[in-house]
């Protein structure tokens, strides 16, 4: 399918949803038994798309949102950097030391099985209501994704490539640098979108459960006063935020993964 056509269809999906939302939240379907007009999507619960857009615009125009964006961004970035670093190091260590991996295996599985949201209150207790409780929540999410990918990546290095590298005279240190490390990195990069996404999730969920700033806080505040327009506006900003971050990740990974085979298409 051609690109403009695809783009058109994609935009049409949004237009249809927004029009549907707008119409059913502003045009009454009839009159209820109590004489009041009846809406399929009452504004108290669903607001209207125009109000939400207006609110988003206002938040950017008045500049109130930037502080919160910066806080959430800081938390997400810290969570990603700490979680990814720990994941790479420990993943590498486990993969190269099967005994260590075998000993810790059940604990890793237990920790990973735990829904991370339940950690939020205890992290708030331990690390306070500032950014660090959110950062650590994000770290617990990012760590496991990166850890499992690196562990898998190092262990599944092709035995032939490995034998070849050894026949080419590489010692352990050189194998680590020229074979294991690039193999593991490629797995980290292939999971980059997921792990960055989870860093944001950790930050926002943490904020939502107890904080004084950030996008999660904004949404929580609006919810507390039944300000549905505010909740939707917060969600829209969050979506834009995640999409921008995702776009940046794509820009970063492209030059790093040039050696990866991509689907080749015939051109006409």
């Amino acid at each position: 399918m051609s690109r403009p056509k695809l783009l058109f269809l994609q935009v049409m999906v949004a237009v249809v949803v927004l029009v549907f939302w707008h119409v059913f939240s502003t045009v009454p379907l009839g009159t209820g038994s109590d004489g009041k007009p009846y809406y399929l999507l009452p504004q108290f619960f669903f607001s209207t798309p125009l109000k939400v857009i207006e609110r988003v615009f206002l938040m950017f125009w008045e500049g109130t949102v930037y502080k919160h964006l910066m806080i959430t961004l800081t938390e997400a970035v810290l969570a990603f950097v700490i979680g990814a670093t720990a994941g790479v190091l420990i993943g590498f260590w486990f993969a190269r030391k099967p005994l260590v991996a075998a000993v810790f295996d059940p604990y890793v599985k237990m920790m990973n099985a735990l829904p991370r949201v339940v950690l939020a209150p205890i992290f708030a207790l331990w690390f306070g209501l500032g950014i660090w409780s959110k950062v650590w929540l994000g770290v617990t999410l990012v760590f496991f994704i990166v850890f499992f990918n690196v562990y898998q990546g190092v262990r599944e290095v092709s035995p032939v490539v490995l034998s070849n590298a050894r026949m080419l005279g590489m010692n352990e240190r050189q194998l680590l640098r020229h074979v294991y490390w690039p193999a593991a990195l490629s797995w980290v990069f292939s999971s980059l979108h997921t792990s960055v996404g989870f860093a944001v999730v950790g930050a926002v969920v943490g904020e939502y459960l107890g904080s004084s700033a950030g996008l999660g806080y904004l949404i929580h505040q609006a919810e507390g006063v039944f300000d549905v327009t505010g909740v939707f506006a917060g969600m829209v900003i969050l979506m834009i935020f995640v999409m921008v971050i995702d776009f940046c990740v794509t820009l970063i990974e492209k030059p790093l993964l040039v050696w990866r085979p991509t689907e080749t298409r015939t051109v006409q």
């Binding site: 490539v161 034998s163 080419l168 005279g169 020229h178 040039v258 050696w259």
Partner: protein
């Protein structure tokens, strides 16, 4: 142990009563290779020919030091082999290039790891890539190369280190017939220039005769052994395409096939049992 045999030079590779047995999961032993003796003289091109799964590659891995034999010993230029065989270059059957490095980096790394400066290593890589006909492909990643081109890079990767011994495990097996012919020609050209000792494992009889000075025939596994040792007195340098039409080639082909045929039949008869054992 380093005594020259019959006054001749010390062989490049000498496997003395080397046997291979694997422990099976659930107990028991699989005797893959019975004690065998293999000798490859310096500058000699020896093909090891046998049906699939007979343990030819295993012998090669032992000569490379990638795996230890169950019994016996391998001598490399008279020295008992311990650990990897650092004097040998190994050309694998499967893709063995590092996919994250470009062709020239893949070749240069073999020099860099032993301390050659990056600039010199890249220079040498470019020269050898030109010799295998890939002068303008240095910046490609392996996935951007065809099967035959990848083999050329792998060959360059091995040759750039100037090993005294070349070990080849059905290197052209996965290639199509035409590419194989071209690759065999290239290999023979390069070998003709500096005559290293070569141990070339294959299941292709034509290829074995056309390339080598001597063909060793292995029997089908289990308990594989060497059942034939045929000198190939065809003149050098050889033209791979021409040599196949010489009467001598046909005589050798018939003689070796006579020995090989029963073993190949045996493999097919036993193929199910062999599969079970390998799984």
């Amino acid at each position: 142990m380093t005594q020259p045999m019959n006054g001749a030079a010390v062989p490049a590779v000498q496997l003395n009563s080397v046997s291979v047995a694997y422990g099976l999961t659930g107990g028991g032993r699989y005797e893959a290779v019975q004690p065998v003796d293999v000798q490859v003289a310096d500058g000699e091109f020896v093909a090891v020919l046998g049906p699939t799964g007979c343990g030819k590659s295993t012998l090669l891995n032992i000569a490379a030091g990638l795996m230890p034999p169950s019994s016996g010993e391998s001598l490399i230029f008279g020295q008992r082999l311990q650990g990897l065989n650092t004097q040998a270059g190994y050309l694998f059957q499967q893709d063995a290039l590092m996919p994250w490095k470009t062709a020239r980096d893949n070749v240069a790394i073999g020099l860099e790891v032993r301390g050659t400066g990056r600039r010199d290593a890249l220079g040498a890589a470019d020269r050898i890539l030109a010799r295998v006909g890939l002068a303008s492909f240095g910046d490609r990643y392996p996935h951007q190369l065809s099967g035959g081109q990848k083999k050329r890079v792998a060959l360059a990767q091995v040759l750039v280190r100037e090993p005294k011994i070349l070990l080849m495990d059905e290197p052209f097996g996965p290639l199509d017939a035409q590419t194989r012919l071209i690759m065999s020609e290239l290999l023979l050209d390069l070998w003709q220039a500096d005559r290293k000792a070569v141990m070339f494992v294959t299941h292709d009889l034509d290829e074995a005769i056309a390339l080598s000075d001597r063909v060793l025939v292995m029997s089908a596994g289990p308990r594989a052994s060497i059942i034939g040792d045929f000198p190939i007195p065809l003149a050098r340098p050889r033209d791979i395409a021409e040599v196949r039409s010489e009467p001598e080639f046909h005589r050798l082909h018939a003689a070796i096939w006579n020995t090989l045929r029963d073993e190949v039949r045996k493999t097919y008869g036993l193929s199910n049992a062999a599969k079970e054992i390998r799984a």
